[in-house]
């Protein structure tokens, strides 16, 4: 048998490689970014410490409106994913002919390389050559071409729709698994007691899906808040900054304009918000694991 000391050393030896990797690829860049956020690092090979100047600059500009836009964008995107995902999961769980085929058909947006899917949506939104504009014109709803990415309001919603399209399959499959884990005898007992479909959903399915829904919404919140590729490929944050979220603004500042210090300050702020979300997620998960009510 190993002594306590040897046991501790052995355990440390086992976790050391993972710990080193985490230190190298997570902790070091994070600390370096925080350090960079207090400097005027740019294209010059040297840089100076500037204290909180980069943070002051963030809040003296239009970044506050970018933060608000990011939260609104994230809220609607996550809410729609949850709603559509729940409806999709219930439908896919129903005993209908061809159910396996329908389940397979939910997957392409998730399986397809994300950039290809986004380019496809970009073409559909195109006013001159796009499918949506063509359908609306043929149906007589619009008189001429309608470029959905050309106006702030429509571009904002168009990017949300694409994000929802990408995110719904994962939510649906996750919820489907949650529904299938609900014991069948609960439904049978409710059926014997005369509960109709609606009541069975309200009183059994929905309450038992809540823990999964909370977990998934927290994870979806984190992914969506940080969503970059969809907006960047569709609009690059335009027109007139109407689809610029925090991550887009950070990229444009740090990589587009080579203002690494200012970009790092924005990234730190994003990290702060994501940490809050993660904290909430872990609290929810630990309470669920302990079987507590939320």
């Amino acid at each position: 048998m190993l002594s306590d000391r040897t046991g501790r050393l052995f355990a440390l030896g086992l976790v050391a490689p993972a710990l080193l990797v985490i230190l190298g690829v997570v902790a070091y860049p994070l600390v370096d970014s925080i350090n960079l956020s207090f400097t005027n690092a740019a294209l010059k090979k040297t840089y100076d410490f500037v204290g909180l100047a980069n943070y002051e600059k963030i809040f003296s500009g239009n970044f506050a409106s970018v933060i608000v836009r990011t939260f609104v964008w994230t809220f609607f995107s996550v809410a729609l994913k949850m709603l559509i995902g729940t409806a999709g999961a219930v439908l896919l769980n129903a005993a209908v002919p061809g159910r396996a085929l329908f389940r397979i058909l939910t997957m392409p947006p998730w399986i397809m390389p994300i950039a290809i899917g986004i380019f496809m949506w970009g073409w559909m939104y195109n006013g001159q050559f796009g499918m949506i504009s063509g359908l609306l014109q043929n149906a007589g709803i619009t008189q001429g071409p309608l470029a959905l990415l050309s106006r702030g309001e429509t571009a904002f919603w168009a990017t949300i729709v694409t994000d929802v399209w990408v995110g719904v399959p994962m939510v649906t499959i996750y919820f489907l698994a949650a529904i299938q884990a609900i014991p069948r005898d609960l439904y049978e007992a409710a059926w014997v007691d005369g509960a109709n479909r609606g009541m069975r959903f309200r009183r059994i399915t929905f309450p038992l899906m809540v823990p999964s829904a909370l977990t998934m919404s927290m994870l979806s919140l984190i992914f969506t808040f940080n969503s970059f590729d969809i907006i960047w490929i569709l609009t690059q944050g335009g027109p007139s900054g109407d689809t610029t979220t925090m991550i887009i603004d950070t990229y444009r500042t740090a990589i587009g304009s080579y203002k690494y210090g200012e970009g790092a300050a924005r990234a730190v702020l994003i990290c702060f918000f994501l940490s809050l979300f993660s904290l909430a997620y872990f609290r929810v998960v630990s309470r669920l694991n302990r079987g507590e009510r939320l």
Partner: protein, 406 residues
Amino acid sequence: MTFHKRLMTGAVVALIASTGVALAEDKVLQFVECGDTPSPVHVDLAKEWEAKNPGFKVSMEVVPWGQCQDKVTQLAVAGNPVALAYVGSRTLKQFASNDLIVEMPMTAEQKASYYPYVPETVTFKGTQWGRPVAFSTKAFYWNKDLFKAAGLDPENPPKTFAEEIAAAKAIKEKTGIAGFGVVAKTFDNTMHQFLHWVYSNNGQVIDADGNIVLDSKENLEALTALKDISAYAEEGATSYEQNEVRQIFLDGKLGMIQASYGAAGLLTKANKFAWGVAPLPLGPSAKGPGTLLITDSLAVFKGTGVEEQAKDLAEYMTNPENQVKYEAGTGLTPLRPGKAVDDMLAADANFKPFIDGISYGGPEPLLTDYVGLQNVMIELVQSVVTGKAAPADALKKAAGELEQYK
């Protein structure tokens, strides 16, 4: 000799031999060219230069335009610069200000060999920071069939902003097809397209003394004209960049566009409708035909140890004789007047407007943060085109924002 001694001796011999090989190896000049495929002319010129400069090898890498500038910049900042890179001349001031590239002064004779204003596109602090390698000017294209359908004279293109707006209105109202192609996407050529309006009206963004003069009467006239013509433009102008607008024009769904000489070839090939090309219409303050003069340059980065050779390679590739070969292969506007231009004019009358615009043209503004400049100009155009801001207010705001990039 013991086994260990033999082993040691062998190792030393192997080390010396390998060092000898290393010493004999060619020094590599990394050359990044932007685009999809390497220019065959540049590939041949690099081989010729290698033959004249034993001991040096040119390693060419082609990077798509979207990532090209970022890649060479990031490599330079990270302390691993490429020797020579093909960059937009608008980046040179930023590179120079940050001590990333070397000076490449031109002699008076070299400067005089170019068209007017071309050396200015690479000049900062009284010296040159690159060698121009590509030149683009724009002219005005119109669809003669749509002009006819709108009751306009198809052989008489608009010559002023007012005539251009009136023609766009007539086309839109009489045919239902958009009269003019406005470029306003979140993309660099939105700024370029607006600068054609600016230089067609004797405007400027930054003057010779380095003052921001964007908020001027000339630029207000130009921006107001762009706003007015937007009412007759394609739906959703902020969704389209230059090549997308050109494609709509090629499909016969636009009355007029501003485009480069390359569009003439595409129109001839497509052969869908009758078209014409003329100098860009002029604004009320214009003194003569103008256009934005965009150049790309070969820039030599600091810290490679082969700066002198890279400069020599850049000079070799862009000397008058070799530059003509490159231009002939790409369809670009020649950088220098001469026989090649005379031949092009004799071969194709459509080429003339692209040369005419040079006389009152102007360069891309050289500022210390070209991305910042680009973002401000795109926001300026988009805010006016979408009706979010009045031209005068938008110009004032943009001029204020540009002060930080002087």
